[in-house]
């Protein structure tokens, strides 16, 4: 907005309305479980970045004198060490960075592609819609893990392939959600009003449709982040994901299972972090759903 426009806005100071987004934010911050989820997530993220600064250890350094020791304050091995004598505290933090990054980036890419694709298909309608959605159906039918295994066999193990493979599948669901919502939004009078102006399709889609259909997508994507983290963990567990010396929660858990009897903390600690993250996202997702869809308010 121009400064002049801003001045005009301020002329009506005190009479500013509350936008739907702001109202939703108000409801969200009043939701204790959701705010606990946010706090937990902030804490885990902070841990991921601050932990390496606190610990004297390097995630790749082997402490050959202390192999597979239980959590202890001795030598600052707070989470103990693994079978190669590497410090678990910094490795969990490193795994957190990789897992969260995969979760967030993949989700973000899926959302952008899915929203635009779904909105365009839904708004265009007719044959364009048919073709676009059949493409989605075909991609849906491809088994995810099969596709990933092929990709990995052809191109070798690579973290970006993991991004790509998961993202390639997850945007499909978002596109379907958004297309359905767009079909409904297209029937509304405010979209018809904009169309009757002869407004360009890009304006109608971006200004009128997308802001009004992203609510369910936001909720879905909050629940998508943990799904993606879980898929990555599963791939790493199978040995198809992140490669040593890099690590992720999935890989740590996979390695921890091998020594479940002798060193349970190698499984328990990364698994606890993963579980806590799942909880946090699910609480946030629930909170967002209630905040964005205020059915019970009269």
């Amino acid at each position: 907005m121009t400064p002049e426009g801003q001045a005009l806005v301020e002329a009506a100071a005190g009479l500013r309305g509350e936008s739907l987004w702001r109202a939703a934010l108000g409801r969200f911050s009043a939701n204790r479980a959701a705010m606990a989820g946010v706090l937990l997530l902030v804490a885990i993220t902070a841990f991921a970045f601050v932990a390496p600064l606190l610990s004297p250890h390097d995630m790749e350094a082997n402490d050959w004198e202390r192999i597979q020791i239980a959590p202890t304050t001795e030598q600052s091995h707070w989470f103990g060490t693994d079978a190669n004598g590497r410090d678990l505290f910094v490795r969990v933090a490193a795994g957190a960075r990789v897992s969260l990054a995969i979760g967030l980036i993949t989700t973000l890419v899926s959302v952008v592609i899915g929203v635009l694709y779904g909105a365009i298909a839904g708004y265009a309608g007719g044959r364009t819609d048919q073709v676009m959605m059949r493409i989605v159906d075909v991609l849906y039918a491809l088994p995810l893990f099969f596709a990933i295994i092929i990709l990995v066999t052809v191109f070798g193990r690579n973290i970006f392939l993991v991004f790509l493979a998961i993202g390639a599948v997850e945007w499909l669901t978002i596109a379907r959600i958004v297309r359905g919502q767009t079909l409904a939004a297209k029937q509304t009078e405010y979209v018809e009003a904009a169309r009757s102006l002869g407004a360009p399709a890009s304006r109608v889609v971006l200004r009128h449709i997308v802001p009004n259909v992203v609510g369910p997508v936001i909720v879905f994507s909050t629940l998508l982040v943990p799904t993606v983290i879980l898929v990555e963990s599963f791939l790493s567990f199978l040995g198809l994901g992140v490669q040593e010396p890099q690590t992720s929660w999935g890989l740590l858990i996979s390695q921890g299972t091998a020594s479940l009897d002798s060193a349970p903390w190698l499984l328990v600690i990364p698994a606890a972090f993963l579980a806590a993250t799942m909880f946090a996202f699910n609480f946030i997702g629930d909170g967002l759903r209630d905040a964005l869809d205020p059915r019970d308010e009269s």
């Binding site: 409801r27 019970d296 308010e297 009269s298």
Partner: protein, 328 residues
Amino acid sequence: MSTSPAVLSVRDLTVRFATRRGPVDAVRGVSFEVAAGRSLGIVGESGSGKSQTCFAIMGLLPGNARVGGSVRLDGEELVGVARGRLDVLRGSRMGIVFQDPMTALTPHRSVGSQLCEVVMRHAGVDRVEARRRALEIMERVRITDPERRFDMYPFELSGGMRQRIVIASALVLRPALLIADEPTTALDVTVQAEVLRTFRAVVEHTGTSLVLVTHDLGVVAGTCDEVAVMYAGRIVERADAATLFRAPAHPYTRALLDCRPRLDDAPAARLRSIEGQPPSPALDLPGCAFAPRCALAETRCRVERPALEPLGTGAGTRLAACHRPVPP
């Protein structure tokens, strides 16, 4: 007023909603009675509390509502009664008709089987008897060719036909009271006329009492014996229909009648309008709620709330809550 005992008796009914922004009083002390075989129209604009009054009687308010006062159906108190008892009463003693007939019917079952189910569940009769009663009631609500319609599905019927099926299912257990909330608002005028005739016929022939809630004074004119006009959660005027339409006492009733263009008037260049908006239900004005929009208001109207009282002498059934009623 009729001397026969009241089928429905409402005393000091209040409805308060707890919302995120504090309490909202939708109904602020409403009292009325409906005698057997009589019909009452409750008229008001949105926010007048007419629908909340209706929902309070039916016991169908959402969880954040608190109901005060008393609602008696055939002498039985309904406020604070257990949910299970209300469910029984709603089927057998109180028939309900909503605005949208499509949502009141199950889409995947024939209308006849839906009627029969109500009869069999509540009256404990067999299938043959249930079918007989269903067909009888379909005829009563003026459905032509009931045998054929019996096996049709809701989507195969037109809007007016569906609404008559809903009325039939509300009546099939011969309730003492029929409550209809905006029953013709979703219908075309021609269809509305026919549905209103149905209501009239039902009251005349079955002896059921009727409470009809609507925003349209025209709708109650030919359908109801008595009319209550609501504004901001209170009844501002109550009178028998002929009196109310001939000589409205409350300035609000008067303004409502004046601001509506009529087919039988000489067209005027401008409509008389009521300026401003109804007050927010979250506020409680000290005086008359209509005073800020009333052309006749004086200082007293703004500080002292008028009570709903009989007007003049010998006026019989007329009640108005106004310090400065319109002279007849």
